[in-house]
Homo-oligomer: 310 residues x 2
């Protein structure tokens, strides 16, 4: 099944304790689409400026991402500048220049409208619904958001959530959105607003999925070399949605496998700046690390032995 | 197999966003011994003052903890006062009064010396070795430590680590002890100093176990009601060691099960102040939550489906 993704395509300037990258390709829709392209065909909706070159486009083309929905507008591409300290879980934004993204008006090419799997990246919730209005009969709608929309467009965000099956957000956003410190209570509150499931991204600690019927905890892959966490959350979402769309199976067991695939795509992404690692994976890389996650988390049930049985 | 535990018995005054408790029973050896008592006989070495009453002793007695190694000294029992904000992973110490603990000289009753499983709670590393010197032929020695000893007695601590099989410490302590920000690298460095395995406690994110041959990630149990995280780390260690001693099986598969038992004992402990929940568990409580952890983490392998197979 094809995926439709709407979000940002950006140039990022990133500094981490392990190095620096200037004006490299980034953005939520970029990381998402490259990650999900390993599993299923992807249809991208985003906007770039006239500084976006053939070399940048080649990243999408080499992964067979459909970019007929990538608008080219006069002006500069969205730019983000940020840095990370040794706590790689938290990005410090130094500068955000929306540029052409400021007047982004997402329009779907005709052939995108029948996509069954839809990912609404972190954009204005009004625009998220504008995209949804153009999709004919989606099977699974997932979305992301951020503190800016929670603080400035909460009512609009809630309207979007009414139409969303799967919310994929980070831990702090979960607490802020619900206004509740306890993560489980916060998730339950949000589930009451529409989504069937919520996947909470916890950076190097993995992810937690909650629905009315189940809770699933997935670890992050413990890495000796983490260079740049930028895009990890979107690579995660790309892995989750890519796996779900490719298998077209929304059973709980398959959602759990999908989350592990999200976690493994994120683990590859953080091994290098920009998309340098994520764009160069083999299917063996993915299969091997999926097995590694099984080894990482596996334990066998066996009878518990108490004092009484000694 | 019997367990020997040395550590603190204390009176804690704790404030969390969910309530307050004054001068309640606490201390590393207390939490550890009550948690491990559900699995195996426990021999306690610690010191209390003359303000320690029969009522306090009854907590150990009702769990059949051997307290012939609990010294009664003139003066006051060790006191700790601290509080937690909404981030329950971090305790803010307001006051520490060592009292009788300041001149603690751990001496093992004769019948303790053949214990095969030893847990050296967070005390002066000189004293940890003094205890070890009195144990005749231990099979598994585990220990904990804290930032104070890392900063003030590093060489002594390293001497202790040479004689330790299993180090159980928290995440920040791991990084500080190794002087290395990356957790996996930090753990590998510490393993080079003696321990066969290290279990890194990550609060509400669970635990990570590393040895030369394996890595295991265990989640924490996602709770809707967390009242007081005091003692969670020691309850965790008590569950791990109690399960290992009761099964007397140091295979990797069994160590993994032991860690899950540690995580579940910690999950019960944080549901109430002091030992109010931990001291009142049934074997059904333990078995049920062990099964719950399997449900929480389980995913099945199945063939990964890529673009190529569509």
């Amino acid at each position: 099944m094809n995926i439709l993704v709407v979000g940002s395509v950006a140039f990022d300037s990133v500094k981490t304790p392990f190095g620096e990258a200037k004006e490299v390709l980034g953005g939520s829709a970029t990381y998402f689409s490259v990650a999900s392209s390993y599993f299923t065909p992807v249809n991208l909706v985003a906007v770039v400026g006239d500084d976006f070159t053939e070399e940048h486009l080649s990243v999408f083309k080499e992964r067979d991402v459909d970019i007929s929905g990538l608008q080219h507008s006069p002006g500069q591409t969205f730019r983000w500048r940020g840095e990370y300290g040794f706590d790689l879980n938290e990005a410090h934004t130094l500068d955000t220049c929306l540029n052409v993204f400021e007047s982004f008006n997402p329009q779907l090419p005709a052939q995108y409208k029948q996509c069954k799997y839809v990912f609404l990246g972190n954009i204005d919730p009004d625009l998220q619904r504008l995209v949804l209005d153009q999709v004919e009969n989606p099977k699974l709608v997932a979305c992301d958001t951020m503190n800016f929309w929670i603080e400035n467009k909460l009512e609009s965000l809630k309207k979007t959530l009414e139409r969303v099956n799967l919310l994929i957000i980070n831990e702090a956003e979960t607490r802020e959105l619900a206004g509740e410190a306890n993560l489980v209570k916060a998730a339950r509150k949000i589930l009451g607003w529409g989504p069937d499931s919520i996947i909470i991204k916890r950076g190097e600690y993995g992810a937690l999925m909650l629905s009315d019927s189940t809770v699933f905890s997935a670890p992050a892959y413990p890495l000796e070399s983490v260079y740049d966490p930028t895009g990890a959350g979107d690579s995660f979402a790309g892995g989750v949605m890519g796996y779900l769309a490719s298998t077209d199976d929304l059973s709980e067991a398959n959602i759990r496998r999908a989350i592990i695939h999200g976690s493994l795509m994120a683990s590859y992404n953080v091994e290098a700046f920009s998309l340098e690692r994520l764009r160069n994976l083999s299917s063996t890389d993915i299969e091997t690390r999926f097995q590694d996650f099984k080894t990482l988390t596996n334990f066998e049930l066996s009878p518990t032995c108490f004092n009484a049985c000694k």
